[in-house]
């Protein structure tokens, strides 16, 4: 029992260490560890590989969840869409990885952005299908007025928070495509947050349970992804180089949580 528990804790410990590595870089970039052993080029290589592993794992776990549900299970297409969305992000990261590993640089914009942007319709569709599945199964997801209220409230708060954060990003120089992408990612995250807010309402009712764990981890991952995109926009558009470690830490945490949530669901299906 304790062996099983410790095996289960190991991936979380690895994720925690990976995130701490980059937070440490942010806190003490001139420290001995980072100055001698882990220069920025090596850290970029580590980040690229860790992200690839988590994205591939997340996509595979979500697909395995789809595979273990019966053909008529309404949640099955949702897991497939989630898998495809994460796979699209993996393809994007795969396009970046050779540049990051070999040259120690991240090209932007690049063909990778096509895959990163493509992930959003899959993810948004996935969450809508989950919501519909829960509604059809008779789970209380709130009246139409409640749902509209939640979406409107989250949308309004999101716009209020995002506007001051994105205004300087949009006003910077750079090519039109760079500016569009820098604003597009956080805006797409905001759209993603709307169905996520409805799922959060369900997740709160699931708290303290196996399914609650799944959704807490998954929703945490997508929330951190939104934060990561805002940090990335500032790093990229405003040349805020000191944010580079936080960009990697937040993306690694987001991808790790998404993979962890899908894995927890797979464990639930296999139990």
């Amino acid at each position: 029992m304790s062996g099983k528990r410790s095996r289960g804790a190991l991936p979380w410990a690895v994720l925690g260490l990976a995130v701490l590595l980059f937070l440490g870089w942010a806190a003490a970039p001139a420290g001995a560890l980072y100055a001698r052993l882990l220069p920025p080029s090596r850290l970029l290589m580590i980040a690229a590989l860790v992200k690839l592993v988590y994205l591939l794992a997340g996509s595979a776990f979500a697909f395995a969840c789809r595979d273990r549900l019966e053909a008529d299970n309404p949640a099955r297409p949702a897991w497939l869409l989630l898998s495809q969305g994460v796979l699209s992000m993996f393809a994007g990261q795969l396009c970046l990885a050779p540049f990051q590993v070999v040259n120690g640089e991240t090209p932007f914009p690049s063909v990778a952005d096509m895959f990163f942007v493509l992930a959003y319709p899959f993810l948004i569709a996935s969450f809508l299908v989950f919501l519909n599945a829960y509604r059809e199964a008779g789970f209380p997801i709130g009246s139409l007025a409640e749902r509209v209220g939640i979406v409107a409230g989250v949308g309004a708060v999101g716009v209020l928070v995002a506007l001051p954060l994105l205004r300087p990003v949009a006003a910077t120089g750079g090519t039109l495509l760079e500016r569009i992408l820098n604003v597009a990612y956080p805006v797409l995250d905001l759209v993603l947050l709307l169905p996520l807010a409805l799922l959060l309402r369900i997740a709160l009712r699931l708290r303290g349970s196996h399914a609650g764990d799944v959704w807490a981890i998954l929703l945490g991952g997508f929330f951190v992804l939104s934060v990561a995109d805002v940090i990335f926009a500032h790093f990229q558009a405003l040349g805020a180089a000191h944010l580079d470690p936080l960009v990697h830490a937040s993306f690694i945490l987001a991808y790790g949580l998404i993979a962890g949530g899908a894995h927890r669901q797979l464990q639930l299906l296999e139990s």
Partner: protein, 83 residues
Amino acid sequence: MTTSEAVEVMVKAMAPYIGDTMARSATEAHCQRLGIAATMSRDQLEALLGKLGGGLNIFLGRDKAASVVAEVRAALAALEAPR
């Protein structure tokens, strides 16, 4: 068996998987939709278990959901047995 007794049994069996709050609210919502009052008939019980099994199916898959429903049935049978 009263509805409230049955609901408690169902909630207890489903809570580890979907949480006490969701288990209770889903069960009560289904009771309301099925017109179940203070006591429930055998047909109403079967209909309710069918609905709950369908809901659990989404989170657990068919086999696991069926085993949870079987667990509920066993607990209900134990409750109904002469005390």
